[in-house]
Amino acid sequence: MSKLIIIFLAVVFGFSQIPKVNAQNTILNPNKTTRPILNSTRSAENQEKRLDKIKEHAKRLIENRISSLNNLLQRINNNSKLSTEEKTLLSSQVQAEIDALNLLKAKIEADTDIETARQNTRKIITDHYIYRVFIPKIQLLITIDNLQALSVKLSETTVKIQELIDRIGDEGKDTTLLQSLLDDANSQLSSINTTLTNAKAKVMAINATNFQRQFAQIKQDLASVRNSFAKIKNDIGQMRTNFRGLNKSTP
């Protein structure tokens, strides 16, 4: 009987220990049962952090570009040489880029997965090329527009000079040298206008892949324009001397 009681107690004791051991195992090694859940939570947190990081980076890239474009807008509007039409045209191009970047910003902010956010962030550069193409392009257009305005103003001056030369000629004075200098100035202006028109077309054709090549050609065109302006300046200098001489000889 006592043996039976001992066996019974041993069995009861033995079974009573089983849950305790499991419980101890759980306490000693909690990851054993909850690890998959924790791992998945951590992974989701990491994904969230990476997504936030991409969005933050995209926001910075876009805001820097918009700030530069706003500066460009201000520069266009403050330019006294540009006509209203030119200002409107250039401003609308810049504004279109700002609007497109703002749209892209909203799109990236709404992205819910890393790969889409990353692809859209790449578009800030590859779809716009603000610093590599767009801003230099507008800067070159402004430069050419300014030089065209200078050319127009000089054309007005040469008309006035022609009137003066005609008046002096009517007075019986020799205007051969003055006329020759003025003809050269007009010829230079004509060449300037053609070169600037061509240069403008080259600027309009600039894209991300041909910038360096196009820019080299445009720079060459503008150097030729500068050279022509220098010749006009030289003509004007000689005309001034001639006019001073005529003025002294006038009783």
Partner: protein, 97 residues
């Protein structure tokens, strides 16, 4: 004169004074505007005579120098904006995120 006529006369005088004031103010504004335009026109070329040719053409030369120097600055700026743009670096930084 009846009271009604007096009121009518008063109204007419008021309208006349108001109209005169309006015309006077408009004229003042026009004068100011034409004054401003006149200011702009001062930069435009007046008739060139043998007396003012030297001075007038000297101004033209100065203006040309200023504009051409500005063009040089602008061209350099356009080139710098292009060359300092770190397109590849920016793309790499995006890929590494």
């Amino acid at each position: 004169m009846s009271k009604a006529n007096l009121i009518l006369l008063g109204a007419i005088i008021t309208v006349l004074i108001a109209s005169s004031a309006y015309l006077l103010l408009s004229k003042t504004n026009n004068t100011n505007l034409s004054g401003q335009n006149g200011g702009d026109n001062q930069n435009q070329i007046q008739t060139i005579t043998t007396d003012n040719a030297d001075e007038s053409l000297s101004q033209t030369e100065t203006e040309m120098t200023t504009e051409l120097n500005q063009a040089d600055v602008d061209i350099k700026e356009a080139q710098d904006t292009n060359t300092t743009s770190s397109t590849q670096e920016d793309l790499n930084s995006i890929n590494s995120l």
